[in-house]
Amino acid sequence: MKKVYSNAEEAIFDIQSGAVIMLGGFGLCGIPENCISALVTKGINNLTCISNNAGVDDFGIGLMLQNHQVKKMVSSYVGENEEFERQLLSGELEVELIPQGTLAERCRAAGAGIPAFYTPAGFGTEVAIGKESREFNGKMYLLEHAFNSDFAIVKAWKGDTQGNLIYRETARNFNPMMAMAGKITIAEVEELVPVGSLDPDQIHTPGIFVHRIFQGTGYEKRIEQRTTRPRNP
């Protein structure tokens, strides 16, 4: 079993232009910083990115947008990114906005062998256009399909050489479902440990879902909204 790669550049070696890629994270929290940098350096384009957000202008997926590498974004909220809005309004960028819970469940379904499911989110809204709707117990639901992605790139706190992953705090967010959903799942971790050193009871993503893993470096972990309270009010 050879899952360990030495860095992001190696781990993304076969991602080509036109690929459909899931990227974990919520805002800038729990995003795969190393792989995003490597994708920017690699310069491939025409990418479809499935990610809850699109980063900010100069960090996260925003870096790929600046570089005009993204053809289509599939997200729930993109309000923190002016370059995104500019490309969208000018028609350079395609976007599919999806309710956040539906986005999460479409990832989960892809990783759980479920081709489609019904959800009430978006019924009666423009999200419902072109979708099958159905009543269950007096309430209306929309049929939503599992995502089909070539790669899923996730970020975890700790991982072992078999790909078992543990996330930290709210940096977990979309990462576990996306890890399940990739045809090829690449995990970057803050700390890569030998197999056997993680407590099996504490593992969030079983290694079976993870094809490649590497220890990332130089995490910036930028804070989007730094909010504090004074120590002596």
């Binding site: 729930s76 706190w157 977990r172």
Partner: protein, 217 residues
């Protein structure tokens, strides 16, 4: 008239001991500051946390710990962390007792629009559509009129809909309104506000009946 803090304080009176509550961005977030002493209320943040605490002390910010508004936060005793699918699982399954949201428009049938202004604002719905489609009790906290002075309590929403027939109560700077089959039923009004002013600023069906109390906060 209430300011935004007053609106938040009035909504805090709707809280009950043991409630699990999701607070949206803006005025709803302020409700957390007015949870009555001794009452146990657990705040849900849809990015994957139950038991959201106040902002961290300066210097204690943790980039791995944020709320749905991407703000640095803390956890209280008894918190739990989970992934986004589990988070929206508890939302869709109706486990969250109360959801407080902001809105651009609310109709007198309880429809809500709060995610998009065509041609102007392209931000996305985030978790709002999931929340409004499933929440058992939704209170909207908002200003009664928009910046142009136009009513936000309407017969029909004019902006793209977030969800249909879901809002149960609206609290604005002017008053508290229950949404029933008859429309916006005025329950309480702010001090120094007249029913005529409320009528003038409410385009949707308005019901004014019985004893209308003054809001006490």
């Amino acid at each position: 008239m209430l300011d935004k803090y007053g609106i938040a304080r009035r909504i805090a009176q709707e809280l009950q001991d043991g409630f699990y509550v999701n607070l949206g961005i803006g005025i709803p977030t302020l409700v957390a500051n007015y949870i009555p002493e001794g009452m146990e209320v657990v705040l849900q943040s849809e990015n994957g946390l139950l038991g959201m605490g106040p902002f961290p002390f300066e210097g204690d910010e943790d980039p791995d710990l944020i709320n749905a508004g991407k703000q640095t936060i803390t956890m209280v005793k008894g918190s739990s962390i989970f992934d986004s699918a589990t988070s929206f699982g508890m939302i869709r399954a109706g486990k969250v007792d109360l959801t407080v949201l902001g809105a651009m428009e609310v109709s007198d049938r309880g429809d809500i629009a709060n995610w998009k202004i065509p041609g102007k604002m392209v931000k996305g719905m985030g978790g709002a559509m999931d929340l409004v489609a499933s929440a058992r009790n939704i209170i909207v906290a908002m200003q009664h009129t928009n910046r142009a002075g136009e009513s936000k309590l309407l017969p029909e929403c004019t902006l793209p809909i977030t969800g249909l027939k879901c809002v149960k109560k609206v609290v604005t700077e002017l008053g508290v309104f229950d949404i029933t089959e008859r429309g916006f039923e005025l329950r309480e009004m702010a001090e120094d506000v007249t029913i005529d002013e409320i009528r003038a600023k409410t385009l949707g069906r308005l019901v004014v009946e019985g004893d209308i109390k003054v809001i006490r906060i």
